[in-house]
Symmetry: C2
Subunit: 591 residues, 2 copies
């Protein structure tokens, strides 16, 4: 399979002209931030993704990870790539310089992170873990933990993992059974079994810092009694040096349908008396800390949908321009590139349009995180936006990613079903992304109840206002045609659906629970339509000062394609939402 | 993974009360046809599927087929199962008794075939090939071929395979390069390379009868110059006995992402001077014959969507009733079966509703094939219906099957991504079904241009009349509620879309080519909605004379669920259809 080529032109266009990062150089906070540096960073990252990570993607899938007597060996090439990745400073790109990071804005890190995910998703899964773990340590306000762990994590000298799930506690973390008992020295003894621990054990680093959720004796029941502990594979002393092996053991790794290069571990803590753990922050605040990491992981997971979509698009475009088959049903030409068949062109454009819209959304979220840093006055509004978008982006992008992997295979035809071409791997790798870090159903409930109802619709109302304002810009363009009618309907449907959610009280709760996923998808399409309106407007404006007409006209065509092929889905989703409980209430499982 | 349990109750309900098979015992042609026999056949088939084929499904996936020096070895257990399958008479269930078959109606064969496909899709892929090959021989009117081949194929003593695709000719079979040169004895010398030959080589039978498309010298270009040949692995003499090995060689088998138990072969014909082939029918009529088999294969492929959906539903239901997690967000109960979470219940009902609708459609098509036999006067109308439904059922059912496999994994959560649970195999196995026997795009073009436009909408108009008549029955029921409004819209959209297709002349051709897949999906949902109206009506009527209230009420609930969660999609599909070329015409690939 051909190596990944970072779509720098598309990325740069969206960052410079579409996402809110477009106004960055006018913001004081980023005043000393050199655009030439961005370009240099992107070039280097593109090189590393294309030349180092991408070539390992298929070999890593074929070889997989090895488990032997508690040890996990990553696929050939992983270790070298990891050392280079860290020594090049990629790991801590958006983390503080004070701890060995680069302190670059999030929007740059988002574009770079997407390159890693496209080129080798299995490999780079540790990065979001490190980003999240570092943010937990930064927020937990414990100088000893910061001093001893942070720099080693940010530089990649040590790795981290997130130890949440247990056989009886997946989506419901309040149910965990892992115990933590405080000792005289203030440290804890941890005992319990954890499963599905990504990079829970491996051969890449000297030490692995496990972030473990556990319950202390007499803690309150449910999620309110969960605490977070640092449990290093090798115990770290007060000076920050690795000492003896902790009572932590990798029991097995999973045999998964995809992500073969990423070890998914079952870990046993405390078989031999209790693993030594250090409390993060205060007891019983574990889920709160863990959600810092979880939100980070959800954004990264959303990006995985974009990244696999991009990889699929690249492969499908290349294949469909090489493969000739059949007659052009319009011109009558024979043996044409299959890319010229309208149905294949439709699929290719569908891939590029979805990737473009979701990528823009990803950069938009990252930009608002940056703006939250830059502008304390509007910080709350920016964070409200990010909180609203997190479940939408996580779930909608990964659901789209699965569909895009399917479309890629479809374009390849029979060749897509053959493993050698590498596109079946995209389908296998992406499949778990709608599950881990909270399933689509969980994201939908988070959206409807926490992000819309509990918020009294504040963030949502602000979002709709933004969409309306960008629609006005689009509709005013001379290029706007009959599709504006669909966009007018989109906004109407969006308002109606939002009102519907906000108006439901207790008696409407079942309808919301049954229709939450429909609302989430509706929001996903609305946000992507929004980004495509912005894309079209930006392309139109750029045309006034650029000669890159083909590229810019294609972006406009892609936007209109989105409005014709994706936006109409909101009509169906709205219809389902408002009677979502139909049949479900009356249906009884037969025992 | 638990074994497959044939859903006999659902199957029987749909056959007896929903599909057109419901009136069978009143038709003279089937007068001597004993319902007790049907029941006995179903019981035996269910046993064989559950106890013999299903246990081999996962082991066959893990082991796969072996290739060594031209020989293919099927997975452990395959050979025994094959011998039993044939000696029990399952292979020729719907083929003539005169040649060793059972002459059972198609609607019975359809239900039984679904059991095989659910329990072990990889294994049973040979059956549709045999069914199709037998029908070719029956129609080709060549007594020598019939006498020497037919009984051996129908009884399974010999197997068959369909040798169409070449590296440069997949969807476009007019492009094949395999040559056939007539010899003095009337037989032909065949030379060429074929790929993607399902069961092209294996260890199950003494002989394998290859049906090979090839071109004779000076034949017309394109599809009109393609002929069909029988090329047996061992040459068959005039008395029907196997003689020496033919010049046919299996070169390799594919390493696929799914269907590991079904060998997909590359075959080389004539490396050593030319394989001996016998012409079927007349020269240059190869595609016409092959389409007899192809239509058979398309209907079988459509059933694969139903079958994998059913298997996924069974597994997901079982898992979601065992697995407890989280709090019931309505009652507040803790540690509830995940099946009780509204979003999971929604997914489970979605699986059962889709399977029910598609299964009913499958039986409806089979019934109309039977009716075509039974009633010469209406034969043309019945066959018109089947011709119209073939691309819809093939493509929509397999696209749905892919989505259903995804939903099954989603219900399993993290466990679904782990291969041991067996549900990832469903996703891998089903993936090729939207590709082989004609991609979804090809089915959509067949539907729009051949089955609707060329037919002047005759079959489609008849279908819409049927749907309207069943809607009237549904709307008249006391149980009909607000969903009738959606059904009224469905019929309106169906008529508008049909008119749109019929009204497009040459200048609208691009729109149709870009929107054909949308029209096909719209038709699929319309037909499934139709079957669910019939299901609800039948359940309502049965309630007057049955005490099986829970079961029948659930069917009604399932129908209403379908109208709320699936039927609304036609609103979006119609919208996309009528402006499907938007953006596509203007988009130019960058070289």
């Amino acid at each position: 399979m051909a190596n990944y080529v970072a779509p720098l032109k598309d990325m740069t266009f969206l960052l410079n002209h579409v996402a809110d990062s477009r106004g960055f150089n006018q913001i004081e906070h980023f005043a000393d931030f050199d655009p030439a540096l961005v370009s240099a960073v992107f070039d280097e990252a593109a090189k590393f993704a294309g030349q180092v990570l991408s070539p390992l993607n298929q070999s890593g899938d074929i070889e997989g990870c090895h488990f032997n007597d508690g040890k996990v060996t990553t696929p050939a090439g992983w270790n070298d790539a990891y050392q280079q990745f860290c020594s090049n400073g990629w790991l801590g790109l958006a983390l503080p310089e004070a701890y060995g990071g680069q302190s670059l804005p999030r929007f740059i890190a988002a574009a770079v992170h997407e390159m890693w995910l496209s080129s080798n998703l299995s490999f780079v899964m540790f990065q979001a873990l490190t980003q999240g773990a570092a943010e937990i340590l930064l927020s937990a306000n414990d100088d000893s933990l910061k001093q001893r762990y942070l720099e080693k994590l940010v530089t990649g000298e040590w790795a981290t993992c997130m130890s949440l799930t247990e056989p009886g506690a997946g989506s419901d973390l309040g149910n965990i059974r892992t115990r933590a008992v405080r000792q005289a020295d203030g440290r804890y003894r941890i005992t319990g079994q954890k499963i599905y621990i990504t990079y829970g054990e491996h051969d890449l680093t000297e030490n692995i810092v496990h972030l473990v959720l556990a319950k202390t004796p007499d803690s309150p029941p449910g999620g309110k009694g969960v605490s977070l502990f640092i449990v290093p594979k090798y115990i770290v002393d007060q000076s920050g040096q690795c000492g003896e092996l902790n009572d932590v053991r990798c029991v097995s790794i999973e045999h998964k349908t995809g992500l073969h290069g990423s070890p998914t571990c079952s870990i046993s803590y405390g078989d031999d008396g209790g693993a030594i753990g250090e409390l993060v922050g205060a007891e019983n605040r574990g889920l709160e800390y863990m959600f810092i990491l979880m939100n980070e992981a959800r954004l990264s997971t959303g990006q995985q949908g974009v990244a696999i979509g991009e990889m699929g698009y690249q492969r499908a475009l290349e294949y469909s321009q090489e493969r000739t088959q059949g007659r052009d049903l319009l011109s009558g030409d024979t043996d044409v590139q299959i890319a010229r068949h309208p149905d294949v062109k439709r699929m290719l454009m569908g891939l590029r349009a979805q990737v473009t819209a979701l990528r823009a959304l990803s950069y938009q979220i990252a930009s608002r995180l940056d703006l939250a840093e830059a502008d304390p006055e509007k910080r709350a509004a920016h964070l409200r936006f990010v909180a609203l978008m997190t479940p939408i982006f996580k779930a909608f992008s990964t659901e789209s990613g699965n569909l895009m992997a399917g479309t890629t295979i479809q374009i390849f035809g029979g060749m897509g079903f053959v493993e050698e071409t590498g596109v079946a791997q995209l389908m296998r790798d992406i499949r778990v992304t709608t599950i881990y870090e909270g399933t689509t159903g969980i994201q939908a409930n988070d959206l409807v109840f926490r992000k819309v109802q509990s918020d009294q619709g504040e963030a949502l109302t602000e979002l709709i206002a933004d969409i309306e304002s960008d629609f006005a810009c689009y509709a005013a363009l001379e290029i706007a045609g009959s599709e504006t009618e669909m966009l007018v309907q989109l906004i109407a449907v969006l308002k109606e659906s939002s009102q519907f959610i906000l108006q439901q009280g207790k008696e409407g709760r079942e309808t919301l629970l049954c229709g939450a996923v429909n609302f989430l998808e509706l929001m996903g399409i609305a946000c992507c339509s929004w980004m495509m309106m912005r894309t079209a407007v930006a392309a139109y404006e750029q045309k006034q000062q650029s000669t890159d007409t083909l590229y810019l006209d294609n972006l406009i065509a892609l936007s209109r394609f989105y409005f014709a092929h994706f936006t109409p889905k909101v009509l169906a989703l709205h219809r389902t939402l408002i009677s979502a409980e139909m049949g479900i209430q009356d249906y009884r499982f037969e025992e």
